[in-house]
Amino acid sequence: MRALSAPTVLGEPIDRVDGPLKVTGAAPYPSDIAYPDLVHAVLVQSTIGAGTMTAIHAEAAEAASGVLAVITYQNAPALAPAPMTGLGPSLPLPFRDNRVFHHGQHVAIVVAQTQEQAVAAARLLEIDYVQEAAVLGLDNPRAEVLHNPWQADLRRGDPAAALASAEVVVDETYTIAAETNNPLGLFATVASWEGDRLTVHDSTQWPVMERQTLATVFDIPESAVRVLSPYLGGGFGAGLRVYPHVILTALAARVVGRPVKLVLARPQMFTSVGHRPETQQRMKLGALQDGRLVAIDHGCTSALGIEGTNFGRVTVVTPPSYDCPNVATHDHQVRLNIPNPGYMRGPGKTEGNFALESALDELSYKLRIDPIELRLRNFAHVHPQSGLPWSSNALQECYRVGAERFGWSKRSPEIGSMREGHWLIGYGMAGVTFELYQPPCEVRVSIHRDGSAYVRSAATDIGTGTYTIAAQLAAELLGLEVGQVHVEIGDSDLPTAPQSGGSGLATSLGGAIVDAAGNLLRAFLKTVADDDRSPLQGMTAEGVAVTNGRIAAIEDSSVGETYFDILERHKLDELSAGGEYNPSAGAPGIAGPAAFAARFAEVHIDPELGLLRIARFVTVVDGGRILNAKTARSQIIGATVMGIGMTLLEETVIDSATGRIANATFGDYLIPVNADVPVLDVVFVGKPDELSPVGSKGLGEIGTVGVSAAIANAVYHATGRRIRTLPITIDKLL
């Protein structure tokens, strides 16, 4: 089929279709949901890092004004085992027994008539503990270490021999502090039961998976569970798993027989919904004097909770990044008495890229080769692991365009050679190769007699722009105005969709919309196939195009009629069609898709005070076809801001004696504010990717990747200090 609206809307920088709701405060987030008989829950969390509860004194809390229930492991109804999900095993269920595995573990949930009563009563709960020494610190000899936890360690060639014979070697260790996602929206759950039917409004990035999990643990059919998440106040990966507080809220609602709302407090956001784990990476590069890489050995040790899982490969960045014949990767996880880590924007790849691109910069100075030139000499013209051609790869163009826009040629290569008054100036860059994850997706598209169209899928918009790009794509394919297209998402009752995660949703949902739009056009043509009154009788989808809601023959556009004409004559209120896209089928003989980027930072450093200012930051991205130039740019600038936070500010401080998070507030855990953010220049290059029906490649995460290395490399250029530990705080520059 060929369908074109005039003018083309896909790719245009149109305003977010959900903008008016968001600027008026009318967009309904989970914490905004109320029921007439709603009651409120508050979590009580453990005050030790490891040990057991020996007694729970709940009488005072139970007797407090307005209290309906105090639920602990001692009186909680049993839950059925949680299922395997699309991202591995579920997290361990809460309230199984008296064991405590980390400081801030949920040990009770208090339900009262009002929020104030619940908070007050929760303070009256007293718990006796027998405390054990918490196992903390990545190098703790008491910790259990999981080697090759995902059976994904990789080897090509003979890296050990190649390193031994390399002319130049870089062998360094890079550490990154634990970070916390901290979406502005406090995660909230509102659970309501009607008999054995459960409705949950929740801050989830994956309603369908949450439905599966809740149905399993409460032992009810999936059809009896509805999960709603039309808006959420950011997630950045924190909403990709069903964390215990969600299950506890549904449990509490069942116990008290009324709808229950739970809103996590900000400190609880640090302990309840995952975080980017602390990592320590060992990166060995072997090269020849001409800059060609002969070996890369990349190892990483990541923190993990005592009993949960976390799929977060860090070394995964290395094998596809450069044309190097000998590569080995090793991942390890260390079980510690900490809240179980989870996903945070670009999990693994963001950390891995910092080590790889820092090490390459170190190599460039050893070899006295320009950092861009070094990367070009090792450019992977084909996928270096599979040897297959890339579906698309504009990384070289990213370097070239970025260098031009940034003014890389003005860089004087000597360390500390650029100054502005007493400020030292540094230029740094990093490359990014970001292999994408694209799960299957389903959608249903309808056209109504009044000219409106509906796109329905259980997908979510976590601020990424799903509503807007779905409307643009459907409008383009159906030959309608964007304003005629209504996008309904964030509801598990709608056609199955994957998570907003892994940068995959836009492409997956887009592919499904392409399929559905084709099916819908065929449904219209089928409707008139035997209709003597239709000028389209007997035509096929390949022979028509749609403009302004009118289907017409490509050969002669005067032959045609509108959707309305067809629906009206056939007395139909609407026609609908489903669509699906399953990228896992892949394309034989083609590698990818992967997105690519080049990042450039200019830093200014006051050598006496250790002040570090980012003067400007240039990003060039190959994200395939850009679906909306405005929201796409926002994805990249927003992720860059998060990357700046990771590089300069963010560290979740876990007290080494108790395992308590010592800075679990926005007053103590610093994220970038408006004044911290420099001019951010973003450019898109590349062409539509051939693996995707839409041509897009995914932009949600790549913007965080490479920021840290570009800045750290600029710091080295300015000062000669190689900072291998994030965040780069003042003390490291003095």
């Binding site: 008026t24 405060g25 905004d32 929020q115 104030e116 929206g185 406090l186 408006n674």
Partner: protein
Amino acid sequence: MRTIPSDEVTVVLHVNGRARQLQLDSRVTLLDALRDHLDLVGTKKGCDQGACGACTVLLDGKRVLSCLRLAAQCDGREVMTIEGLARDGRLHPLQEAFIRHDGFQCGYCTPGQIMSAVALLEEGRATSDEEIREFMSGNLCRCGAYPNIAAAIREVAALRRK
């Protein structure tokens, strides 16, 4: 056994031009009074500790963090929330500019950003980019829409100066 204070207070809030009398637990903050008792959920709770700005409203025309005020402290005072900003169905110029410049992504901090920006313009503190960025730094945005937020405010400030 400790007891829980649960004294109730009668409070009159003038919210978006309308007097609202409330019988409240004395512990209720202005933020929770708006959200839980007046169904004005546009004002958001991002930290409940006065550190993120999501709950920013205008109190007698000045921007305040509604999570740090008890409702009882606001008896008889004028409160303006995001719901009161549009007039006769027409968006405030800042609301329009935030849409045009994509000054938000998830939208959660947006009501607070916009209320803060409304006050910023009144304060006369939006005369340069540096000023806008500095005096909007009490409003966190984890989506990182800061450059677009600054652009939206810059545009409206420039129009007002004309």
